[in-house]
Symmetry: C2
Subunit: 280 residues, 2 copies
Amino acid sequence: MIQRISAIEEMKAVAAGLRRDGKSIGLVPTMGYFHEGHTSLMLRSAADNDDTIVTLFVNPTQFSPCEDLEKYPRNLERDTKLADEAGASFLFTPDNASMYPAGYKTYVTVEGWSSRLCGISRPIHFRGVTTVCAKLFNICAPDRAYFGMKDAQQLLIIKKMVRDLNMNLEIVAMPTVRESDGLAMSSRNVYLNPEQRKAATLISAGLTEAKKLVEAGETRAEKALEAARAKLAESPLIKIDYLEAVSEDTLEPTQDVGPGTLIAVAAYLGATRLIDNLSF
Amino acid sequence: MIQRISAIEEMKAVAAGLRRDGKSIGLVPTMGYFHEGHTSLMLRSAADNDDTIVTLFVNPTQFSPCEDLEKYPRNLERDTKLADEAGASFLFTPDNASMYPAGYKTYVTVEGWSSRLCGISRPIHFRGVTTVCAKLFNICAPDRAYFGMKDAQQLLIIKKMVRDLNMNLEIVAMPTVRESDGLAMSSRNVYLNPEQRKAATLISAGLTEAKKLVEAGETRAEKALEAARAKLAESPLIKIDYLEAVSEDTLEPTQDVGPGTLIAVAAYLGATRLIDNLSF
């Protein structure tokens, strides 16, 4: 049965004990409200490691004041059950006051990369993500940490932080899990009304159009983006935040698409902002 | 006999091996050109831990373009001998290209604290210090790391980073080692000409004046600072960068002096900038 831990010092002691006993530790950092994307990470971690720690923390430093921190969906009992069924040994649920006590001042930033793509509309977001991951990596001492490819920029930034700061773990990327109509699973999908939910399928459909073109031999990024943009334009409910082709090595815009490039999109349906991407 | 290691991956493997064998590791991060301040840290680390790693890296990210990175004094053979005699097991000497490879982007910052005191004249300095320490802590996996109290702001900022990011080590502070006339030992003292060297004693003498006042019952910071300032004014060769009384908890200026406060000074003698401090 999964063990729930909320005190940082207890989690540290448990992780240190596991390491002393020669156990490998897998970490799945989450903000909760689990869907199959999350559980796919847990299942993989449980297969790869002796013990899996799932962390559930709706991290305030990655939300701007105008964002959905307070109303971010939560369901601890259901999440505990799902993590248990997916093979996790521990669910770590620290609170804000212990993660960011009064006078907290230290931040980790991947400069430049954090202000591109999602970082334009969410300027402090990635600083919050890298900081909380650095903290969770220190607390849980994992051998491997698992992240979904839906959050492509987050994944690239975390990999970069780990490499730059010589951190002692491997970052494992797992494929985006989708609903049957193609919509990427996201805890934020619950915000959508039925009309928005229907229109939201155009996001993945747009990426599929781009993919078809590239697979047919198109190498010009602008042509692939045009095809995606045309698809997204089929619903007036969708407002594009960005739609870009970038290099996975630098996050800089590219003229050509192919291996090593990423087409990334963020779009609003009402107040709900969804992201998706396609890599080659 | 001390073992010199320059490759990051080799150092990581050695440290991981020591931990696997249950050995405790002490770390002494330095920029080399050792004096008794450095060796006092090594001796203490060697007494406290099974193995001591001394790192020698003149860290470019803590120097501004106009500072003394290129001419910073170096003497690897002498340093190796001194570290060996002080009981260190390893001397880790990475190069710039492996510590900061092309495209390096990740920095750790203790916000606010890094722009006070020394941070005013050296705006990127502490960002460089915290970043390189985070890297060295990950590479060397120490149980304890040793820092001198001469660099008081550095010590407080590193302790804050370790606490905020939940790092798994203890920071051990060691007293400033002084020349017989009171001057705090520093690798930069070699830059002083004989006249400057003589005048430099006024820095510690000024702090001693402040200390006498406080020990006699003075609690007003301004009075203690006045006494120090008067002493420093005895030589026209000394130009004060800052002389301040600050809280050790917040680095903010204080009106009162006593336990928990620090009087810190930085002063130029020609182009050489020296620091010293006094805590109660």
